[in-house]
């Protein structure tokens, strides 16, 4: 335990470090630059969280090229802030407009909006923010406690273990995706294949480039993410007529009553615990956490008859859980270098832009970066409570901005971001193509998230497969041989997951669960 405090100390020193900064040709000495980036991150996160129609994936993808000019720590602090900041902002829209500002606040709509209709929007917002804050603090500690031992284990991994781990990660991502299992697996494989486009590192052969020189370095990850999420989201939003009913005047007093506080304690604790656990799972994260927490709370709460009619538990539990899940989903990223969801895949992209190979060595080789990022989450959560409670009025104003003004702006920022990757029009062309692919996939009931995960893991998987096969002299059993118990364990777990989920009874349960989420 002492070690953690010492390490968190290193992190806080890094976060609060004063450094010289040059901007607009002026150089300022002693600027707390990392804190400023954290503030910008959580501010942007809240902003896009509040705005329906743009999520953290598109935003982070948009800002990736920009982070090139930042230091690694500043870049990662800012991008992380966007993700957990979005969890705070999303609840505001859910409560006031009955539209999830963020996909992870879908379930908050159910009871949060009902509370707003009863004139209790203020307490609902406060509950969401305070629950999120508590969960954020606890889950930061969870990250600090669990990451080091996991990284220690991961350091011993060879190519076979890594390959099997990625298989497990992809399988769990598939299991947790909506809809058909086979289609989700197919999307993962399509992603893996698209990830292979470009120069093959082993042989130097240009694969699937068709003489297009811009494809020599492969398809940019940002391009795919912006197309499949950003462009696709805009088109999908334009399909529907805009209608919003905002409870702006009736927010009233923010402070929950004593009775509210008494009722929210247990759900917040349970939500935090469940969210932290679900966030660590590959394929997990904020979305799964909030949904799981709501279902759990509905089952065991003694106020379960009030659920859907404005129960404060129905706001407290999922909002704590989604923030906890958002933060603990950094654990697999920081320790194994494996993304558990699309946002984490983008974080890997950000690390690679900065020349950092994600993996267990980050903690030992760059302790300032590692612990600085964890410490920044604490600071960021504190900022978020201030941003979201006293300043709630700003965000409510923002909700009255019509979408027809917002989407051209979003599109412009995306286009600028994509263009700046290589300063060539081709990337924007590709972005439009992936937007089209994403749109078609959505119409055919195929989720884009598994494709993105596969895309980022494609080259890594091939590399590790090749190395493992070379080391074993072509023996495919190396992945499940008793001499590699960890690899065997991962693969058995992956197969078990697939078998379990394919069983008819559970399959029905899973469909039922997702159906409940859709309503």
């Amino acid at each position: 335990m002492d070690g953690i405090w010492h390490n968190l100390g290193i992190g806080f020193i890094e976060v609060f470090k004063l450094q010289p900064v040059t901007m607009w040709g002026m150089t300022l000495q002693h600027v707390p630059f990392n804190i400023i980036m954290c503030l910008i991150g959580v501010f942007l996160g809240t902003l896009i969280g509040v705005l329906p129609g743009i999520g953290p994936v598109a935003t982070i993808a948009m800002l990736l090229p920009v982070t090139f000019s930042l230091s690694p720590i500043a870049a990662l602090i800012m991008l992380a802030g966007i993700y957990y900041g979005a969890q705070y902002g999303g609840s505001t829209t859910a409560i006031l407009v009955n539209i999830p500002g963020e996909s992870s606040s879908v379930v908050t709509c159910l009871d949060g909006y009902q509370m707003a209709r009863q004139g209790r929007a203020g307490p609902a917002l406060a509950t969401a923010a305070l629950g999120s804050f508590f969960a954020g603090c606890v889950s930061t500690l969870v990250v600090a406690m669990f990451a080091p031992p996991l990284a220690e284990v991961a350091l011993k991994f060879g190519p076979a273990e890594y390959f099997s781990l990625m298989v497990l990660g992809l399988v769990s991502a598939v299991v947790l995706a909506h809809g058909s299992l086979i289609k989700a697996i197919a999307m993962v494989i399509l992603g893996l294949l698209l990830g292979l486009v470009g120069t093959d590192v082993n042989s130097g052969v240009l694969r699937f480039a068709f003489g297009i020189s811009e494809l020599a370095d492969g398809i940019g990850f940002v391009t795919v993410a912006m197309g499949m999420f950003g462009i696709c989201e805009i088109i999908a939003n334009l399909e529907q007529k805009e209608q919003r009913e905002v409870f702006t005047k009736s927010v009233g007093r923010l402070m929950p009553t004593k009775e509210d506080f008494r009722r929210m304690i247990a759900p917040v604790l349970r939500g935090t615990a469940l969210g932290s656990a679900l966030g660590i799972l590959p394929g997990g994260g904020a979305l799964l956490a909030s949904f799981g927490a709501y279902t759990l709370e509905k089952k065991i709460s003694k106020y379960s008859h009030e659920f859907g009619k404005g129960a404060i538990e129905g706001v407290a539990a999922p909002e704590s859980a989604n923030n906890a899940g958002a933060q603990t989903s950094f654990i697999p990223l920081l320790t194994l270098g494996i993304p558990s969801n699309a946002v984490m895949a983008l974080m890997i992209g950000a690390m690679m832009i900065q020349g950092i190979a994600p993996g267990p060595q980050v903690m030992t080789e760059r302790p300032q970066l590692f612990w600085g990022m964890i410490a920044s989450m604490w600071v960021g959560n504190l900022m978020l409570v201030i941003l979201n409670l006293p300043l709630i009025g700003i965000w409510i104003k923002l909700l009255t901005v019509p979408y027809r003004i917002l989407y051209p702006s979003i599109l412009l920022f995306m286009a600028i971001g994509v263009f700046s990757i290589s300063n060539q029009p081709f990337d924007c062309f590709l972005m439009a193509c992936f937007g089209l692919l994403g749109y078609v996939c959505a119409k055919l009931g195929c989720e884009p998230a598994p494709l993105i995960l596969g895309f980022i893991l494609g080259p890594l998987m091939e590399e590790n497969l090749r190395r493992a096969m070379l080391l074993s002299r072509g023996d495919p059993w190396v992945f499940i041989s008793p001499s590699k118990p960890i690899s065997m364990g991962f693969l058995i777990a992956a197969i078990a997951l697939l078998v379990i989920i394919a069983l008819p009874t559970l399959r029905a349960k899973r469909e039922e669960a997702f159906a409940a989420e859709d309503t």
Binding site: I235, S409, F419
Partner: protein, 173 residues
């Protein structure tokens, strides 16, 4: 006897996966020999397969592409057996205008500069929405142009031209 498609979504998804799978397989191994003989030329060259010990560039894509095609076939067969949802209607207006606007931006940026490219993007994309109000769009594009020049060109120093190519003394650079 005509087979009845019970799930439109799955039917087309299956076809899409099969197409993608075969695409990657064919481009990895090249066109089959009989086809080359028939055409008298090697149509697609393909890459080296290698062995399990030393995998060539074609090995992994062929494995995956094959798997994708098989999964696609399963989805396809399933669509003839199990009932599923129909495909929701395509909305071509936003789709086309959003795509064109980002292409216009990309291909106008180098010759005509950030100002013209941004205005083009905003106007074309706004036209893809439900309502198009000239004045409003003009104001939005003006604000966005000023903002993006300040933030991206001045602040983040992205190497974008601001003015068109043919103007020699651009006031902003």
């Amino acid at each position: 006897m005509g087979m009845k498609i019970k799930s439109q979504q799955d039917f087309w998804a299956g076809l899409m996966f099969i197409a993608f799978g075969l695409f990657f397989v064919v481009f990895s191994v090249g066109t089959p020999e009989f086809l080359d003989n028939l055409l008298g030329t090697r149509l697609i060259h393909g890459y080296q397969m290698g062995s399990a010990v030393r995998m060539g560039p074609a090995y992994f894509p062929v494995m995956l592409g094959g798997l994708l095609a098989v999964l696609g076939a399963i989805v396809l067969v399933d669509s003839l057996v199990e009932e599923g949802p129909a495909i929701a209607a395509f909305h071509f207006r936003p789709l086309i205008f959003i795509a064109i606007s980002s292409l216009a931006f990309a291909y106008l940026l180098k010759p005509l500069g950030l100002v013209v490219a941004s205005v083009a993007l905003v106007f074309i994309s706004a036209y893809g929405g439900h309502e198009f109000k000239w004045k409003e769009v003009a104001i939005v594009s003006a604000v966005l142009v000023v903002g993006s020049v300040l933030v991206f060109v001045k602040g983040l120093l992205l190497p974008f031209p601001v003015c068109p190519d043919f103007i020699n003394n651009c006031p902003i650079r």
